[in-house]
Every structure is written in structure tokens, then in C-alpha cells.
């Protein structure tokens, strides 16, 4: 914590420095990924299936070790402390909470029990107060008294985010919060994510496939393909980038691109 105070205001709360990740000692998934997340902002990490987005998040949260993966090169610093060598529970204690892909709530527990579990690392008596705070963000959770496994997909996602809030984190990594949700619910969930970021000042790293919503919510974005960052830029830069428009947002150039141009895009990416 003392190190954190000494940080300059412009230095990022999370910085990933050229990491490589290897599963089972042989399968290389990330090939030199560097990401900076500034304090208090929403940064999004976009990319297709299998690009390594979830792996990046697991490298941050330390969950990689539970899947027999490891950061074989590079380092990750959170608030000035190196976290890639720490195990998952210590990372949570240092204030970084991951909402895993697929919500992963404890299905055979009630909503309240799930929320209490989110506060597992805390030792103050304000847990009940924070449960009320979560219910303020997600009023519909308050009405659900049965097992969390019976909640709808959207409600489970809300519970997963609420559970993260219970830990009073400095930063939340969200892995595909829009997965499996109807467009209306996606809108609602993203609205709440932005609201939490605004009101609580919690920094967010948002992994998404739904580039449209993610870029609207974020201040800055990274695009990842096959284990590398191929493009990064501010919201405006990415929204106006022709390639991003074509490949991630739909639309783009009026004239349909030919295969030749597609190939040139691929070639260009390799150099980035």
C-alpha cells in the first residue's frame, strides 16, 4: 500500500508488461501482451474467440495457476505491486477482483449467501450495509429469495457483478458480461457497469466480444488476436478506425472489400 501512495497520478493502476503465458509447459497462448489500465477508467479488451482475452484476465487474477498455466515472461503490476507471482486469493486481497466468464455464481446458495461470499476477504462489520448498496444497483436481486441457480442469465450476471462489489475492490476485471444475454439486458448490464465506475470510482477492465457496447462504455480499447495486441487506441480512435469498423462493429467502407484488401489487413496486423 505504501508503494501505491508514491505512484504518480498518471501511472496506471494495472500495467501488464510484455507477458507470455504458457499452458501445460508447452502451449503458448499469449505472445508478449502489454496493457495499461489507468486509475478510474474503463478499458476494454476486444477480440475473437480464442484470442487469449480470458487468459489475459486469468493471468492478472492469478487463476491461471489453477489451470496449469503460468506467466513465463514479463510481469504484471497492480498498484505498484507485482501480482503475477501471487496466488489468486492474495490478488483479491490486494483489491483486484475478477468476474469470471459464464458468471459462475454458487448455484446452490441464495443471493444473499453469494453476496456474503464476495465479502470473504473483508474484516469489517459493514457487510450488510454493502448488501443494501448492491440491491440499490440491482433492485431485482432483492426480490429473489430462492437458490441463485434458478435466477435468469441476466440476474446471475448482476449477482456476479454485485458479488464483486461486495469485496470493495479497487478494480474489477469483467470477462464477457454480455455473454448469453438478450440485447435489452446487455444494455442494462452495461449501463450499470458504467454507473458503478462513475459512482464508486472502480477501475474496470472489460473483456468483450460485443465490441459495440464495450467501446461505448470504455475510454480506451485494446484489440487482441491470436495472443497478441494488434491495435490499441482511445474510444474515438477505435470507433473511427476502418478496420475496427469492418471487423468488429459491422459496416465500415461503403464499397465491399475484396479478398486482396482483407489479406492486406491481415498482413498489416502482423506488423503492428
Amino acid at each position: 500500500m505504501t508503494q501505491a501512495v508514491q505512484l504518480k497520478p498518471e501511472s496506471p493502476i494495472l500495467s501488464i508488461n510484455n507477458i507470455e503465458v504458457v499452458y501445460d509447459d508447452v502451449i503458448q497462448v499469449l505472445r508478449g501482451v502489454s496493457i495499461d489500465v489507468p486509475q478510474g477508467e474503463i478499458v476494454t479488451l476486444l477480440g475473437p474467440n480464442g484470442a487469449g482475452k480470458s487468459t489475459t484476465l486469468k493471468a492478472i487474477s492469478g487463476l491461471l495457476k489453477t489451470e496449469n498455466g503460468e506467466v513465463s515472461r514479463g510481469d504484471i503490476h497492480f498498484m505498484g505491486e507485482r501480482i503475477d507471482t501471487q496466488n489468486a486469493s492474495d490478488v483479491v486481497r490486494s483489491g483486484l477482483f475478477q468476474v469470471m466468464e459464464g458468471r459462475r455464481i454458487i448455484e446452490d446458495m441464495s443471493v444473499i449467501e453469494n453476496l456474503k461470499l464476495g465479502a470473504y476477504t473483508r474484516h469489517d462489520g459493514q457487510v450488510n450495509q454493502d448488501i443494501e448498496m448492491v440491491f440499490n444497483y440491482f433492485p431485482r436481486l432483492k426480490e429473489r429469495t430462492g437458490l441463485a441457480g434458478y435466477l435468469s442469465g441476466g440476474e446471475q450476471q448482476m449477482l456476479a457483478i454485485g458479488r464483486a462489489l461486495m469485496a470493495r475492490p479497487k478494480m474489477i476485471c469483467l470477462d464477457e458480461p454480455s455473454m448469453g444475454l438478450s440485447p435489452l439486458l446487455v444494455k442494462e448490464v452495461f449501463g450499470i457497469i458504467e454507473k458503478i465506475n462513475r459512482e464508486q470510482g472502480i477501475t474496470m477492465l472489460l473483456v468483450e466480444q460485443n465490441a459495440n457496447y464495450a467501446l461505448k462504455a470504455a475510454n480506451y480499447g485494446y484489440i487482441m488476436e491470436s495472443g497478441k495486441i494488434v491495435l490499441d487506441g482511445s474510444k474515438a480512435q477505435l470507433l473511427n478506425n476502418e478496420d475496427v469498423k469492418e471487423f468488429y462493429l459491422g459496416g465500415g467502407n461503403e464499397t465491399r472489400k475484396s479478398f486482396k484488401n482483407l489479406k492486406s489487413y491481415k498482413r498489416r496486423k502482423r506488423w503492428l
Partner: protein
């Protein structure tokens, strides 16, 4: 038909069955949170009963002090056993881990024989009254106490898993270890805690049974008796363990009754639960290790 004897045996069965249920709960606790089938469960009773006996006779401590010291000892015993012997086994094939627990079982049986001798020993008199008559039935006072203790343990288990932070953490770990870790729960800690609780609670059952029957090797056989109970109960359900324990307890006493009255085969008391186990495994062949086949709905 001797109804009075039958009733007496059924009540005995209920009382013993509750103790089976308590030991079964410990078995299920370890199985659920660490996926280890603990064949050394019975030795927890044995070690606990011997340690308490040593406190009471060698050191001449008053019963409650000796009992509490035993519980502290067993908590440390369970935690250390997990940390030293079983933690390095994490990630090894399930059969290796089971072999280790069988090895532990043999080791502690021999160790207690070596330290305390082979002859059964009885506890010093703890309660003034030997037995009480309830509805004209003689019930040993220690048994009555054991029922109270068993019920207390069950209620505290319920409260622990429902309301305490660590209880919730253990349930979360049982549900999904990766998620538990993402919430900041140290899975290693949960594993150690579950062994500590299992050892402590089993030792309580060991002391209670030891007070009635004396301390001897046969205490560890409770660990085997618990198998039919937990399999009947569904292996990963704590409520199931209690129900299974009571059913097995009553069943062996009723079997004993019919054997002594009509069949005269002999030793049905010990064998009947295993017949039940065989029949259950007949219909659920993967009941024991096939965790995937067990679906709680």
C-alpha cells in the same frame, strides 16, 4: 415376539445411528470439500478416544478439561495431517490418495496399539447415574448424553454452514474450487479446516462411544460402518449422512433382534449393514467413486 426388547433395540439403534450420522457427516465433509474418500475416518475416533483416555487417567484431569484438550489436540491433528500428508497429494490420481488414507488407517491403528496396548480400557466414571428409565426402558445415561451431543453437533454444523463466513467458503469450495479462489478463498485453508473439523467432531463421537463401551481397537470399525451410511445417504449430502446413519443404526439392531429371536445365524449386528451396502452398490455400481453420476437435484 418380545416387543420390549425390540423397542429397546430400536432406541439403541437410533442413539448409535445418530453417532454414525455424526461420523458420516465428517466423512461427507472431507469428501465434499477435498474429494478424498477418507478410509482413516475411524481412526479419528480411535485416536481421539485414546488421547482423551490418557488425559483422564494418566494426567488425572477432570473430564471436561480433558475433553476440551482432546478436541484442541484433534483439531491440530487433523490440520497437520492434511498439511503434511495430504497436501502434497493434491492433483495426484484419486486411487493414490485413497491408498494413502488406507495407509494412515493402518498406521494409526498400529500406533495406538503400540502406545496404549492391545487390551480395551474403560473410562473413569464420569456421570453419577448409570442409566435412566424413560417410559419403562433402561437407557444408559452416557447414551442419553451422546444423543444430546450428537444433536448439538448437527445443529452447529447447520449453523456453521448456513451463517458463518468460513462455512460459506467451504460450501463454495465444494461447489467450484476455481470460483472459490476467484473470491479470495484460500482452498488450502479450506482443505485443512475440513480435516480439522472432521477429526475434532469424530473424536467427540469416539469419546462418547468410549465412555460406554470402553476404548479399544473396535472403535475404528465405526469408520467402516459409516460407509453404508454415507453411501445410503448419497455420499455428498450432509443430511443424507445423518439419515443414512440413523437407518443403519436401527437396521443393525433390528437385524440383531430377528437373528437372536428366530434366525440364529449369529453376528447379524455386524454384517447386516454390509448386506445393505452390497444391495445399494448392486443398484448403484458407481455410487462410491462416480462423483459425476451423483446429481443433486
Amino acid at each position: 415376539m418380545n416387543f420390549e426388547l425390540l423397542l429397546q433395540l430400536i432406541i439403541n439403534g437410533l442413539i448409535v445411528g445418530l453417532l454414525y450420522g455424526v461420523v458420516g457427516m465428517c466423512f461427507v465433509l472431507v469428501y465434499k470439500s477435498t474429494q478424498i474418500v477418507n478410509f482413516a475416518q475411524g481412526e479419528f475416533l480411535l485416536v481421539g478416544a485414546w488421547v482423551c483416555w490418557a488425559f483422564l487417567t494418566y494426567f488425572q484431569l477432570p473430564f471436561f478439561l480433558g475433553f476440551i484438550l482432546t478436541l484442541c489436540f484433534m483439531a491440530a491433528f487433523g490440520v497437520l495431517l492434511q498439511m503434511i500428508v495430504l497436501r502434497p497429494m493434491i492433483g495426484e490420481p484419486i486411487i493414490s490418495v485413497i491408498m494413502v488414507t488406507i495407509g494412515l488407517s493402518i498406521f494409526f491403528q498400529s500406533l495406538t496399539k503400540w502406545i496404549f496396548g492391545v487390551s480395551p480400557q474403560s473410562y473413569p466414571q464420569v456421570f453419577d447415574t448409570q442409566s435412566v428409565a424413560i417410559f419403562g426402558l433402561n437407557i444408559e445415561f452416557a447414551y442419553l448424553m451422546s444423543t444430546v451431543i450428537a444433536l448439538l453437533i448437527m445443529v452447529s454444523f447447520f449453523l456453521f454452514f448456513k451463517y458463518s463466513k468460513h462455512g460459506l467458503a467451504m460450501r463454495a469450495t465444494a461447489f467450484d474450487q476455481q470460483v472459490a479462489q476467484s473470491l479470495g478463498i484460500s482452498v488450502k485453508q479450506v482443505f485443512a479446516m475440513s480435516w480439522g473439523i472432521a477429526a475434532t467432531v469424530s473424536a467427540t463421537a469416539g469419546v462418547v462411544i468410549g465412555m460406554v463401551n470402553g476404548v479399544s481397537d473396535s472403535l475404528s470399525s465405526i469408520g467402516i460402518k459409516v460407509f453404508p451410511a454415507v453411501i445410503l445417504g448419497g455420499l455428498d449430502s450432509i443430511v443424507g449422512a445423518i439419515v443414512g446413519g440413523v437407518v443403519i443404526g436401527v437396521l443393525e439392531n433390528v437385524a440383531e433382534f430377528f437373528d437372536s429371536q428366530y434366525l440364529h445365524i449369529g453376528n447379524m449386528y455386524d454384517i447386516a449393514p454390509f448386506y445393505v451396502l452390497l444391495i445399494i452398490l448392486w443398484f448403484k455400481p458407481y455410487g462410491l467413486f462416480g462423483t459425476r453420476d451423483i446429481e443433486r437435484i
